[in-house]
């Protein structure tokens, strides 16, 4: 019987409403398990999460509404909740009932949102979370009397332990049995305050005491000296984690892909199919999977810090600095992560509530020196900057590298400040931030959240990255031109590359990039580096017909390359400096463009970021080339 009813009929739609830190996500995961579907609402950057659960043969669709303190929106993104509840979002049917999570320890504040929800005149059920914490803090309340006072059903749960969930689940499908309030809460501020006090008076036996642990920990964590030190140490560790601790896993993935490609090459006859599978598909899949270690590590740490309560404190500590460039504390973590890779960095902007600040952070994230630039910097600095010591133990090469990092970071700050003055719309929010009590992070929730982020990345950005890799492979491989008979075998790869579509593009852009000091070979490298910046090293390796991965021989080849027409060196100091500066600015990274598309829900912003960064790169390289050329002669 139950199975027959399972497929029958439309699911009952329930909206899950609640303020940030009210235990909404924990409840959503506890009710729906891992089966959440993640997407975007049309036209805005708000994440849309829905999940199913079946109770007594009734299919329930739970819609996890974005966490909010108010149903009166002050930005387009916030308006999602009120528009959805009013049935104004196309293709998203209005929920038939509302389930609202309320932190039992902060009823005094939460009842403000409850009052707004009651005034919607929809079937509403209040779920009191953190009942265990309420008790631990010496508080107690009468759930039945609270239900009477509000006029709607109230259920107490401890989400992460599953207590009270069974009762809630049984209640969910029976909307018709939910009580409706006789009188709606008042709207006028003084009356509203009175209403909250009367509800508390009839239901709360004891108010919870202050969270003693939070008081004690905050005295250290927010201390002017210790707090700043802790912040610095946390951020250094965090940076280390994604920058170097992800490397073994990433190297393993690279090695695994090489082994796989080799196996395919030996199994299949040499030819187009073998090339397509190895250089196209396997390399493409590899360029997606390579991000997973960083994404998983970053989000594990982010969610742990978030769920334990530190993330809000970190944002609080650094807010003043970020405020100087028109951003807020929460943007710091994104920008820091972008030093490892802009892809997880941009994904981390989801914690920024203001859509405008989030957009600005996304747009400047690619300026932070990501790890993909390092192989390029290493090749060029290694080949052209003398390995001499200056200023005691400091080497010239290290200083050059540091200068490139500084140039990127400072530009990000300047661009953020400029965008903050010039960008209109997007809806700016006043800054406010709640410091939740310190809580032990529910590990199951962290795992679910990390898995959700990784899956979202693979699905939404992975497909675009894979497609782009295959297109670039095709550009670098077609048309196939036979090398002339007399050419030495070592030159075959270079010849094929020069006559491929990408090679022709390299020649075609040569007039445009000549003012920067680049020849067609660098042009091909720049085209190829659109897949990922470090690809230019491999491409130059093919052009200079050196063994792939052999950095020393490539370095020598690049150093001694001369222009056949003029007999002058290709890589002059001016060209090297100009190329380095180009890499500081240009957004040559399909993955970043793909994740920008996913996070901003339109191609408009990736297109804007690509163009402004290209313009910056071109201008800066042009100036660098001419300044260095003038200086050196």
């Amino acid at each position: 019987m139950a199975e027959a009813a399972l497929g029958a009929g439309e699911p009952l739609r329930l909206g899950l409403l609640g303020s940030p830190n009210s235990g909404k996500t924990t409840l959503f995961n506890a009710l729906t398990g891992l089966r959440a579907r993640v997407g975007n609402y049309p036209g805005v950057t708000v994440e849309r999460r829905e999940g199913h659960t079946v109770v007594d043969g009734q299919d329930l669709l739970l819609i996890d509404l974005p966490g909010t303190y108010s149903l009166t929106p002050i930005s387009a993104d916030e308006a999602v909740v009120s528009r959805l509840l009013a049935g104004e979002i196309a293709d998203v049917p209005t929920p038939e009932g509302l389930v609202m999570t309320v932190d039992a320890c902060s009823l005094e504040r939460s009842l403000l949102l409850v009052a707004q929800a009651l005034r919607l005149r929809r079937p509403l059920c209040v779920v009191l979370t953190m009942m265990d914490e309420l008790q631990a803090r010496g508080g107690s309340l009468d759930v039945a009397r609270l239900a009477d006072a509000l006029g709607v059903p109230v259920v107490g749960v401890v989400g992460h332990r599953g207590l009270g969930l069974e009762g809630l689940r049984r209640l969910l499908p029976r909307l018709d049995t939910w009580n409706r309030p006789v009188l709606l809460p008042p709207q006028e501020p003084a009356e509203l305050k009175g209403w909250i006090e009367s509800v508390l008076e009839s239901a709360v036996r004891n108010r919870p005491g202050s969270h003693a642990l939070t008081e004690a920990v905050d005295r250290v964590v927010l201390h002017p000296l210790w707090g700043s030190l802790l912040f610095a140490v946390t951020m250094v560790l965090f940076f280390q984690l994604i920058f170097s601790w992800a490397t073994p896993a990433m190297d393993a993935i690279t090695a695994g892909m090489k082994v796989l490609a080799l196996a395919v090459r030996t199994a299949l006859p040499a030819g187009l199919l073998s090339d397509f599978l190895t250089d196209g598909i396997i390399a493409g899949v590899g360029s997606v999977v390579i991000f997973l270690p960083q994404i998983v590590l970053l989000f594990t740490v982010l969610y742990l810090l978030e769920d334990v309560g530190y993330m809000a404190r970190a944002a609080f500590v650094v807010d003043r600095l970020m405020g100087r460039i028109g951003l807020e504390g929460r943007a710091f973590v994104s920008l820091l992560s972008s030093y490892a890779c802009a892809v997880p960095g941009i994904m981390a902007t989801r914690s920024i509530p203001s859509p405008r600040q989030r957009l600005i952070t996304i747009l400047v994230a690619p300026l932070m020196t990501c790890s993909a630039r390092l192989p390029v910097y290493a090749l060029l600095i290694g080949a052209f900057v003398p390995a001499q010591k200056v200023l005691g133990p400091l080497g010239l090469q290290g200083l050059a590298l540091m200068a490139l990092y500084l140039l990127g970071s400072l530009s990000a700050l300047v661009v953020a400040a400029v965008l903050n003055r010039t960008l209109t719309g997007g809806g700016s929010l006043p800054f406010y931030l709640e410091l939740p009590p310190y809580r032990r992070p529910p590990l199951k929730l962290v795992t679910t959240q990390v898995w959700g982020s990784a899956r979202a990345f693979l699905r939404r950005a992975g497909t675009i990255i894979l497609a782009a890799s295959v297109v670039l492979w095709a550009l670098l491989s077609f048309p196939k031109v036979e090398a002339p008979a007399g050419l030495p075998a070592s030159q075959n790869a270079r010849y094929a590359l020069e006559h491929s579509a990408a090679g022709r593009m390299g020649h075609a852009v040569e007039p445009a990039i000549a003012p920067l000091g680049f020849d067609w070979k660098i042009g091909v490298g720049l085209v190829a580096s659109l897949a990922a910046r470090e690809v230019i090293v491999a491409t130059l390796g093919q052009i200079y017909a050196t063994a792939q991965g052999d950095a020393v021989s490539l370095r020598t080849a690049v150093q001694s390359d001369v222009d056949p027409r003029t007999g002058k060196k290709i890589f002059t100091p001016a060209t090297v400096a100009s190329l380095l500066v180009f890499f500081v600015f240009a957004l040559q990274c399909t993955s970043t463009l793909a994740i920008m598309r996913r996070e901003t829900n339109s191609w408009r912003w990736p297109a804007f970021a690509f163009s402004y960064l290209l313009a910056l790169a071109y201008t800066a390289s042009f100036l660098t080339h001419h300044l260095v050329a003038a200086w050196w002669t």
Binding site: S70, A190, K193, T214, P430
Partner: protein, 79 residues
């Protein structure tokens, strides 16, 4: 009735009661949604290491506001 001061001027550890919000429009609505209803008790707890923003105890929660927002909230000092 004693004179009022802005929430940004209230010293740490002192308690105040919200008297009025000196701002209109969306910010006024949002401050009230966050709990700053007239008559509500509020206590500044501590400031960030760099001086701004500030943590306030309000309706059982710890809420951070920057000076620029806290200036709009008039409070009456009490004890």
């Amino acid at each position: 009735m004693s004179s009022t001061l802005s929430l940004a001027e209230l010293p740490d550890g002192d308690s105040g009661v919200v008297v009025e919000l000196g701002v209109d429009g969306p910010l006024r609505q949002r401050l009230m949604d966050l709990g700053f209803l007239p008559g509500t008790a509020v206590t500044p707890v501590r400031r960030a290491p760099l001086g701004d923003p500030h943590v306030y105890l309000l309706r059982g929660t710890r809420l951070c506001l920057r000076k620029s927002e806290a200036r709009n909230i008039r409070v009456r000092r009490c004890g």
